[in-house]
Symmetry: C2
Subunit: 435 residues, 2 copies
């Protein structure tokens, strides 16, 4: 189809939306790369009077979402409002109006992706979401297209920039996690309510999207186990290093036959592994596939322009599809994973790191070691740290291979003993190269 | 268009071709991801009697290329024969017969890419080449699609696995480069004639392809400066490390206005940079873009299956295009770079590493330092090593920022003096984060 322009409508005009408009303003380059120009016709916002960047053409603003969804010249709707409702309704309505949709909304996909994706698929519409995982890093495209003939075996992601920033700062400054989160909030790296980031729900939603593409699981139903980074403190990073590890906020999915072990949370990674060096706000995705072997993607996982580049890449791709009359091209692995079971990390044997806070008195260490032994938990290393100015001591333990569920059972019992003064921290040790 | 199968023909059935057949044999997965099955109809080979893997259906073999190119049921021709001729004629003829073409042949693209790509473009045909650069790493797709709205500013690649393997081995074993190349030939990591790899021509061809996509330069005309890794020896790695650097076989393209500095060769990289850790046969591509910032792609740059996955990803993409009736979609930046000038590394100021082999007698070091000073080359560090069992000494020098062309002029003069016993080695110091 010969076209002189493709119409774009935005729902939302916050940070990412403004970034999208800035990129679309490079009109000559866009035209050369799409084959026709992309023209923004309408931008739906909540507040017409809010202060906005110069790149936002105020004459296009409207408070009515349906002005965008029903606009006859708008072909592509870009949803950058965030949140689950009303974003779900907006995306569903846009598809019902026959619009191609680009979204950066991982929470929406994790909650309602199955219905939305299958509607788009049935109606030959594009529903694209590169920016929903790892900001500017094109890992969605890699899974959807580059690895289409391969069999992905495992995914190891550092896909929440806030928690990676927080852990890196705790490690480097020795400050408490609480202090660092407050500082991150001041810097704009953490939300007023940091729970989605630090407790792992944001990374879990992104992992659901990656698993859907890699393994064909349901994006909505296949949910990973989630652990928070909140219980960590700087001493954990010191001892992890002394044992030869770094602590990273991982999102892990590992396929074994018809089972996928999937979890999100802080874990110890061998210090020589490439993921151990991914620090600060950077994101990374490490894939292991049968034919290609290991692949690493690394870059900025968030930020106005990085995210906007991924949104506009999708806008350009769907525009190319529109020009070719070929929207709604098949997603890979969309229907192969129905029988796959998602299990948590407790089912597989691996070493674990434990930090016990105990009363500083003779005999404690022996009793703890004995109790672990009674649960068949074999100790690789054990260090006692009693230099902190209080009456407690801390015992850091590295176990041999042991089931996570067995560790949790043992710890639950040990934590009830009179020696133990606070809940024991348990972290898995995750080697991405382990088969 | 509804299709029950898409026909594929192979030209060549060596290592990569066999890998392609192995992946295509996963019929159910391929069908789920393409939307119809991919069927191989013909495989053109030189020798019908050669021993072949079981995955090769002998009944499909032919020695006649035109059996493939004229086969009515073949939609996609996969060129995995390698070399420039007759591959050029085969690809040109396949396009003339209206076939979509997938190739892994970087030498062909670097020599004749402009003509072939523009023919495909004019006739709405796909000519895809993900496997031509960095094997299984999807950097071509990233440039073509993910970064389509961004402005790439620099490319730093380690895109020749053989030279990276050789340099890593020299660094780790202390053996001579010559010995390591011989060992690599035995292991199958280096060709009988290793020149294309160790002298940089292979990486240069790949860099031409990356520059074409990133900057819109002519793939054929925009050729980088090329330097060999052959003059390096293990002492260079030792001293590079003592200065805080690692030596890596780089391919660099850096845009500055209408100029692109482009070169291939060994260079010193700051040891804390992520590229410094890319070792052995691994490849990496580090892109810096205006909006996305830095992006790293890392993985296996060669090998049967890694390369085959990229070839089959292209076969699947062109098949999806065929089903949608949408082949020949526009390449980005195809016509924007006509006025861009490619310049060599000598035009920009940076620190350099020099190794001088001099007669071991008093006063030499002073005379060398004086001569460099006379050429305005300011020295940051200087180390003399005279522990080797011969009458020569070696002087390792790290300069301050200086034009490469000035260093070469100074060295040419100094090398004529009676003190100097062998050609001086000059390596640039390349910091990928330098603007």
């Amino acid at each position: 189809m010969d076209r002189t322009s493709i119409g774009v409508g935005l729902i939302g005009c916050g940070t990412v939306g403004t970034g999208v408009l800035r990129l679309l303003s490079h009109e000559d380059e866009i035209r050369a790369r799409v084959g026709c120009s992309l023209r923004v016709h309408k931008i739906a916002v909540r507040d017409l009077e809010a202060e906005r960047d110069d790149v936002v053409d105020k004459s296009l603003l409207t408070t009515s979402v349906s002005d965008v969804l029903t606009h006859p010249e708008i072909d592509v709707v870009v949803e950058v409002m965030g949140g689950i409702e009303p974003a779900r309704r907006v995306v569903a309505d846009a598809l019902k109006h026959g619009k191609q949709v680009v979204t950066a909304n991982k929470a929406l996909l994790a909650a309602h992706g199955d219905v939305l994706l299958s509607y788009a698929d049935q109606h030959d519409l594009d529903l694209m979401f590169e920016a929903s995982v790892a900001g500017g890093i094109p890992v969605i495209r890699a899974l959807r297209s580059s690895l289409a003939s391969d069999r992905v075996q495992s995914i190891h992601g550092i896909i929440n920039g806030t928690s990676n920033y927080v852990l890196t700062e705790v490690e480097q400054s020795g400050a408490s996690l609480d202090e660092v989160v407050k500082e991150a909030q001041k810097l704009g790296y953490a939300e007023a309510d940091p729970s989605a980031d630090v407790d792992g729900f944001d990374a879990a939603a992104k992992l659901q999207i990656l698993m859907c593409l890699a393994f064909g699981t349901s994006v909505t139903q296949a949910t990973p186990e989630v652990r928070s980074i909140v219980p960590l403190c700087s001493i954990d990073f010191e001892y992890a290093r002394s044992f030869g590890y770094r602590i990273k906020p991982l999102a892990v999915a590992r396929k074994d036959g018809d089972q996928i072990e999937a979890w999100v949370g802080p874990a110890l990674v061998p210090e020589e592994h490439v993921l151990a060096g991914v620090s600060g706000v950077y994101n990374a995705c490490y894939l292991n596939s049968q034919a290609v072997g290991p692949l690493l993607f690394y870059g900025q996982g968030a930020g106005m322009m990085a995210t906007a580049v991924s949104v506009v890449a999708d806008v350009i791709d769907t525009s190319r599809n529109l020009i070719a009359g070929a929207t709604g091209r098949r997603q890979p692995a969309a229907e192969t994973g129905a029988s796959i079971l998602v299990v948590d990390s407790g089912r597989s044997a691996r070493p674990h790191y434990l930090r016990l806070t105990v009363e500083d008195r003779p005999g404690v260490l022996g009793r703890i070691a004995t109790a672990l032994g009674a649960h068949q938990i074999s100790i690789q290393s054990l260090v006692q740290d009693d230099h902190r100015p209080n009456t407690n001591a801390e015992i850091m333990i590295l176990t041999h291979d042991v089931l996570g569920s067995d560790v949790m059972k043992a710890v639950a019992e040990i934590d009830r003993s009179a020696d133990v003064r606070a809940a024991t921290l348990v972290l898995p040790i995750e080697d991405p190269e382990r088969a």
